[in-house]
C-alpha cells in the first residue's frame, strides 16, 4: 500500500500527539514549527545565561488519561516527579492551608480533603460537599449543559458560598483557564471536578524533573523520527492552499515554497489557525465559528533568589497576589533548577490583561512584593534575576457560551483537519485537552484515509 503523507502545522502537545499516532499507523509525518523550538505553549528555551525559561508553569494531573499514557509511550513519563497529594493554598504572612487527600477510594479522599482543613469554615464545608456531589453522580453530558453559566453562577445556584470561590476556585480557575471564576464557563471547571471525584489520584500533581525542551519534546522528536517522521523548525506557514475542488492542495510557506501532502492538520493555536485559513473559507459556518472564539493572554514570571525561600515541594495556589499559582522549581524540579543553590520561583500571572500595559520590570516588582507577603523569607533574599514571558494569545477563552463554537477535528475540507485544545474534546484547555484533540485528529485522518 502506498505510504500516505501528512503535514502538521504546529509542534505543541496537540500536534505531536497527533503525529505520534499517525506515525504508529505507518503514515509519513512532517511537523512544521514556525519557532526555533518545539513545544508551542509548553515550550522552554535557554537565555543568554544558560538558564531555562519556560513559557508557563506546567503541571501534570493524575487524571490526565490520554497525556500520561502518551508520555509513557514516547519515554517521557519517567521524568514526572509526583508530589504529595495535597493542595496548598498560600495566604499572607507565610500561612499555608493544606487540603490533603488521604489514600482512600474516590470520592472519599476528596471529601476528607475538603472537610479536614483550616481553609474553609464549617458552613463552607457543609455546603461544599452536597454542592459539588452532583458532578460526581452525573456524567460529562451534564457538565456540557452547564456551558451557559459561569462557574461563579453555577456555584451560587448550587447553594455554595461565594467565599469558597474567593478562597480557592478563583485561583484554580485563573491557574487553569487564565480567567476568573466569574468569567470561566462552568463546563470546564465541573469537568475537572468530575474527573477529580471519580479517581483517587486524579488531583495528584506532578512536575517535570527537567525542562520541557529536554524531557518532553526531545523524547517525542526521537519517537517520531524512529518511525520515519520529522519536526522541521523555523518553518512558518503563510496559508493553506485550497483548490477549486475544495480540497487542500498544499501549505504555502513564508519562503514562497509549497509543501504538499495527502492531508493537512492545523495544530496551531486558535489565532494562528485563523491566519492560516483563506478568507473565503469563512463562508462555511464551521470555519466562521473560529472567529467567535477568543484567546486569553497570560504571563509567566520567573524570579531567581540567592537563597532558598521555600521548603515546600509542591504547587501553591493563592488568591492574594497578581499570580494565582506558583512553585519553587529549585525544590519541585531540582534536577534542572537547583543550579544556583538558591530558589527559582515560577509564577503564572492571570488575568494578564490588566497588567499588560506595564513594563516587565514593574510586573516583576509587583510579583516579588506579593511573594514577600506570602513567603516572608523572600524579604531576606536577594533577587538575582527575573524574567517575564508574555503570551498575548494563549489558550482559548473558556467563557460561557463558547463551547458551541468549538470545531470538530474534521472540517468541511475533506483533507484538512484541526487540532488543539480549542477544538472539541472532553477536557478543559490544557496539555491533556491538547493531547486528546491531537489523538482525535489522528483518528479522523486515518478514518478519511480508510474511506479513500
Amino acid at each position: 500500500m502506498q505510504t500516505r503523507r501528512v503535514v502538521i502545522v504546529g509542534s505543541g502537545m496537540a500536534g505531536l500527539a497527533c503525529a505520534a499516532d499517525l506515525a504508529d499507523a505507518g503514515v509519513k509525518v512532517t511537523v512544521l514549527e514556525k519557532r526555533p523550538v518545539a513545544g508551542g505553549k509548553v515550550s522552554s528555551w535557554r537565555d543568554q545565561d544558560g538558564d531555562s525559561i519556560e513559557s508557563g508553569l506546567h503541571i501534570f494531573f493524575g487524571c490526565y488519561k490520554k497525556l500520561l499514557p502518551f508520555l509513557k509511550r514516547v519515554g517521557a513519563y519517567q521524568y514526572i516527579n509526583w508530589k504529595e497529594h495535597t493542595i496548598l493554598v498560600a495566604q499572607a504572612n507565610g500561612k499555608t492551608h493544606r487540603l490533603h487527600f488521604p489514600n482512600l477510594p474516590a470520592p472519599f479522599s476528596g471529601i476528607v480533603a475538603f472537610s479536614w482543613n483550616n481553609l474553609f469554615t464549617l458552613s463552607e464545608k457543609i455546603t461544599n460537599i452536597p454542592g459539588l456531589f452532583v458532578v460526581y453522580i452525573r456524567g460529562l453530558g451534564y457538565n456540557k449543559k452547564l456551558d451557559r453559566f459561569s462557574y461563579a453562577q453555577w456555584h451560587k445556584r448550587r447553594w455554595m458560598q461565594q467565599s469558597v470561590v474567593d478562597k480557592l476556585w478563583n485561583a484554580i480557575s485563573l491557574s487553569t483557564g487564565f480567567i476568573g471564576a466569574a468569567e470561566m464557563s462552568a463546563r470546564p471547571m465541573t469537568t475537572v471536578f468530575h474527573y477529580f471525584a471519580r479517581s483517587t489520584n486524579a488531583s495528584k500533581l506532578g512536575f517535570l524533573n527537567g525542562t520541557p525542551e529536554k524531557q518532553l519534546f526531545e523524547p517525542m522528536r526521537r519517537y517520531l523520527e524512529e518511525r520515519g517522521g520529522e519536526i522541521l523548525l523555523n518553518q512558518k506557514v503563510k496559508e493553506v492552499v485550497i483548490g477549486e475542488d475544495e480540497l487542500a492542495k498544499g501549505l504555502l510557506l513564508e519562503n514562497d515554497t509549497t509543501i504538499e501532502a495527502d492531508a493537512y492538520i492545523i495544530a496551531a493555536p486558535l489565532h494562528s489557525a485563523r491566519q492560516l485559513l483563506p478568507d473565503r473559507l469563512r463562508r462555511y459556518k464551521f470555519f466562521d465559528n473560529l472567529w467567535k472564539l477568543r484567546s486569553v493572554p497570560v504571563m509567566n514570571a520567573q524570579i531567581w533568589y540567592d537563597r532558598k525561600v521555600c521548603d515546600e515541594d509542591n504547587l501553591f495556589f493563592t488568591s492574594e497576589a497578581i499570580f494565582s499559582v506558583f512553585a519553587d522549581l529549585s525544590i519541585t524540579s531540582p534536577q534542572a533548577y537547583d543550579k544556583h543553590a538558591g530558589s527559582l520561583v515560577s509564577m503564572a500571572i492571570a488575568p494578564a490583561a490588566p497588567l499588560w500595559q506595564l513594563s516587565d520590570e514593574e510586573i516583576l516588582d509587583m510579583a516579588h512584593a506579593d511573594l514577600v507577603r506570602l513567603w516572608p523569607k523572600v524579604a531576606e533574599a536577594k533577587r538575582l534575576k527575573g524574567t517575564l514571558v508574555r503570551i498575548p494569545n494563549s489558550i482559548y477563552r473558556e467563557e460561557p457560551g463558547s463551547d458551541k463554537y468549538r470545531p470538530t477535528q474534521f472540517t468541511p475540507i475533506p483533507n484538512l483537519f484541526l487540532c488543539g485544545c480549542y477544538t472539541a474534546q472532553d477536557y478543559m484547555a490544557s496539555m491533556e485537552g491538547a493531547v486528546q484533540s491531537g489523538q482525535l485528529a489522528a483518528k479522523a485522518v486515518l478514518k478519511s484515509f480508510s474511506q479513500g
Partner: protein, 113 residues
C-alpha cells in the same frame, strides 16, 4: 479582603494619601461603581472592571481598562498593549486632579455607553 485591608497590607505608607485621594475622586465622580478587590487589586466595576489601582514601591499606578480609547489632552497616559492605560502618581503634591477627573469621566462614559 476589603480595600481598606488591602491598603494597610499592600500599599507603602508614603502612598496611602494618594490611594485615599483616588478613592475619594472615584466616589465623587462614579458613586454607582462597586469598589472591591478583584484579582488582588482595588477595582471599580459597573458592568465590568473599568478602573483599578496598582501599588508598587515607586508609587501608585491608576489604570483604566479601556485607556487606549481615551482622548489624552494632558498626555499623561502611559502603557503598552491593546487596551489598558495608566497614570503614574508618585506624590500627592504633584498630582493633577483635573486630569484625573478628565480620565475618570471618559472611563465612565465608555463603561456606560
Amino acid at each position: 479582603m476589603t480595600v481598606d485591608e488591602f491598603v494597610e497590607a499592600k500599599v507603602l505608607p508614603q502612598y496611602h494619601d494618594i490611594v485615599a485621594m483616588l478613592r475619594q475622586l472615584m466616589h465623587e465622580i462614579v458613586p454607582e461603581a462597586k469598589e472591591y478587590i478583584a484579582y488582588a487589586m482595588p477595582s471599580y466595576k459597573i458592568n465590568s472592571i473599568f478602573a483599578y489601582i496598582l501599588p508598587n514601591k515607586n508609587g501608585i499606578t491608576f489604570s483604566f481598562t479601556r485607556g487606549t480609547q481615551f482622548e489624552d489632552k494632558y498626555g499623561m497616559l502611559k502603557g503598552v498593549g491593546k487596551s489598558a492605560r495608566h497614570v503614574k502618581i508618585k506624590s500627592l503634591a504633584t498630582v493633577n486632579q483635573e486630569a484625573l477627573k478628565y480620565y475618570i469621566k471618559q472611563a465612565l462614559e465608555l463603561e456606560t455607553s
